[in-house]
Amino acid sequence: MPIVIRLDDRLHDRRLTLTELATRVDITLANLSILKTGKARAIRFSTLEALCRELDCQPGDLIEFLQEGE
């Protein structure tokens, strides 16, 4: 998929586990795993807002667009 979610670096910077992040943003660990592994088809703005708040970053820090062939 051309859209890549980069959560690992931000989690490491904030010293958070995926489970802790899931609790803080109020989505299930299963859904957060789906997001992290690139299997999500869409993300709600509310989820994106919560992630940026908890990871203290901008949406562009989490979401990257890869051109075909990259």
């Binding site: 989505i27 957060l32 999500a40 088809r41 869409a42 709600r44």
Partner: protein
């Protein structure tokens, strides 16, 4: 309640087979015992042409047999929809397809009903007996409703599929 509805649908399926069998048996009988039946008709309706009435009886039986097939489609698809409701996953594209098939089956039944009505009117004219047929606007409305419902179901399940994988 779902269980009760499923029992009713199963019962209707059985009745459908029984009626089809009865219609087929009567149709065969009109050929096997034609002279006797024609004589009975002539006695009962001396002013009517026995041959024409016998033909009408056969046509009604043929309509009854033909109705078995769309009725079966209607009941089998309804049973499948009920099973999907029981498994908790009713809002799927397959149910939209099933509803569409049920719509076509219902349309076929309505057309067969029109054919029966035409014969009933013909028999009534011949025998001065009222066979009790009347045009069912409710049935035609049901055809329209079921096609609309099928479309709603298809669009709804597509929207649901879109949402799957949304975090």
């Amino acid at each position: 309640m779902l269980h009760a509805v499923r029992l009713i649908v199963t019962g209707l399926n059985v009745l459908n087979w029984i009626f089809a069998g009865v219609f087929a048996a009567v149709l065969v009988l009109t050929f096997a015992a034609e002279p006797r039946i024609a004589a009975d008709i002539s006695r009962t309706f001396p002013d009517a042409r026995a041959g024409a009435l016998l033909r009408d009886v056969r046509l009604v039986m043929a309509i009854g047999i033909a109705a078995f097939f769309p009725a079966r489609i209607l009941l089998v698809r309804l049973g499948s929809i009920l099973r999907s409701v029981e498994t908790g996953d009713a809002f799927v594209a397959e149910n939209g397809d099933r509803l569409r098939q049920m719509g076509w089956a219902l349309l076929a039944l309505q057309i067969l009903d029109l054919a029966f009505g035409w014969i009933a009117l013909s028999v009534s004219r011949t025998t001065d007996e009222y066979l009790g047929w009347s045009l069912s606007l409710t049935g035609w409305l049901a055809v329209l409703l079921i096609f609309v419902l099928a479309r709603v179901w298809t669009e709804g399940s597509a929207m649901r599929d879109d949402l799957e994988g949304t975090v």
